[in-house]
Symmetry: C2
Subunit: 210 residues, 2 copies
DNA sequence: TATAAAATGTTGCAAATGCAACATTACACT
DNA sequence: AGTGTAATGTTGCATTTGCAACATTTTATA
């Protein structure tokens, strides 16, 4: 994962945070970090662990994203706008908050090299995010559950250069990621097993084709 | 739409293009601009009009994106990686090509204010793109065709602040965007009409609910 | 304006999937 | 270790959707 402060020394980092008038916020376990309202804010998880959670009209909760250390998040990144999403601290968290508009609008900081580096890092992170979103869209546009699974496997396999997949989330969350019914997905995984395309053991899936 | 060269004078723009060693390429109508291979390149359509087109294993072609003047495109933006996508000129085109790696890696240019402005512009464009991708994902994750349509309508309506929708593409392409069968979508639109939720006339859809 | 080509509308049918309900297993917490 | 909770596996059934085939309308092009 790319980092927001790579190629920036800790001294420069301090100057930068002064420049951007960032603030550091602390949250206790189980407290709400962001609600939908705050917009144009970028959060960087310095310490701790949180989850972006959506609650739909039925009250069902789904984990949209896991936020570990170094994770960058915010409304414009995660698509929180107009959705009923909250960011909930699963441990005590220390979060750096930056006003996105300040980054873009201020011109007086342009001559600080570390400031430019910071923006480049942010640009790299956003293009990585686009890449992830493109992958998900590629998967979601497949018509059948089988094709969605296989596309996920292909992308994972290509990215990691391996035929053994370790699911980074539970099967329940996996079905949400693919936007299909969990039990139907389970059925299709069984079909793929029976037909000899894959082997599974827990969250490890081995691709047997090709 | 945001522009890559906003807040940059034409003189600075020239300097910038020298700095980044950009090149301007000309393409005749119906010629192929990008094939899948070229990666890490950003294209800016200066003059003309092109389409990003995917050809699947059946030979079916679908328009992924329309590229009009000022449009920014490239593998990392459009998810062209590993897909059978081509960019085809529909008119004679004049395209500015920039090596993305050069933007990110070079540090010697950091002190040019217009260079920083350029990167900021690029950052803004990428965050806008993320926003679009998030919207599409939001739509694609709906289970039924009806819900996909309604979600599209809602997002459009919110963005444009109107209850009258002018589809920016054909119904055929619309069904591709929603990743559903065209005839099934047509059927569902008819249902929505019959139930009094919408009125349609060509590509104009009027929302009657709420 | 004529004609071909593309887009759109419509329908029957088969197949895939969502849904619900329940059994079984894994996991977390005390 | 024991107990409650969450995750996963399984299956029948109703519904939705994709697919195919064709009619009709619109658009593009000579």
């Amino acid at each position: 994962m790319r980092k927001l402060f790579s190629r920036i020394s800790s001294l420069e980092q301090k100057k930068l945070m002064k420049l951007l008038e960032t603030s550091i916020l602390y949250y206790k376990k189980d407290s709400t970090i962001f609600s939908t309202l705050q917009t144009n804010m970028i959060g960087i998880m310095l310490e701790g662990h949180a989850q972006i959670i959506r609650t739909d009209y039925n009250g069902n909760k789904t984990i949209i994203e896991e936020l570990k250390e170094e994770a960058v998040f915010g409304s414009f990144i995660s698509g929180l706008t107009s959705n009923e999403c909250d960011v909930i601290a699963k441990e005590d968290c220390k979060i750096l908050v930056i006003d996105y508009d300040r980054i873009i609008e201020d011109e007086k900081n342009n001559h600080f090299s570390y400031y430019v580096q910071f923006i480049k890092n942010l640009l790299e992170i956003t293009t990585d995010i686009i890449d992830d979103k493109n992958n998900r869209i590629e998967i979601l546009t497949k018509k059948s559950i089988r094709d969605k699974l296989l596309e996920y496997f292909n992308i994972y396999s290509r990215k990691h250069g391996t035929h053994i997949i370790y699911l980074p989330f539970s099967y329940t969350d996996f079905s949400y990621y693919l936007a299909v019914d969990r039990s139907a997905m389970s059925r299709e995984l069984k079909n793929l097993r029976d037909e000899g395309f894959i082997e599974t053991k827990g969250k490890r899936i081995t691709l047997l084709y090709r």
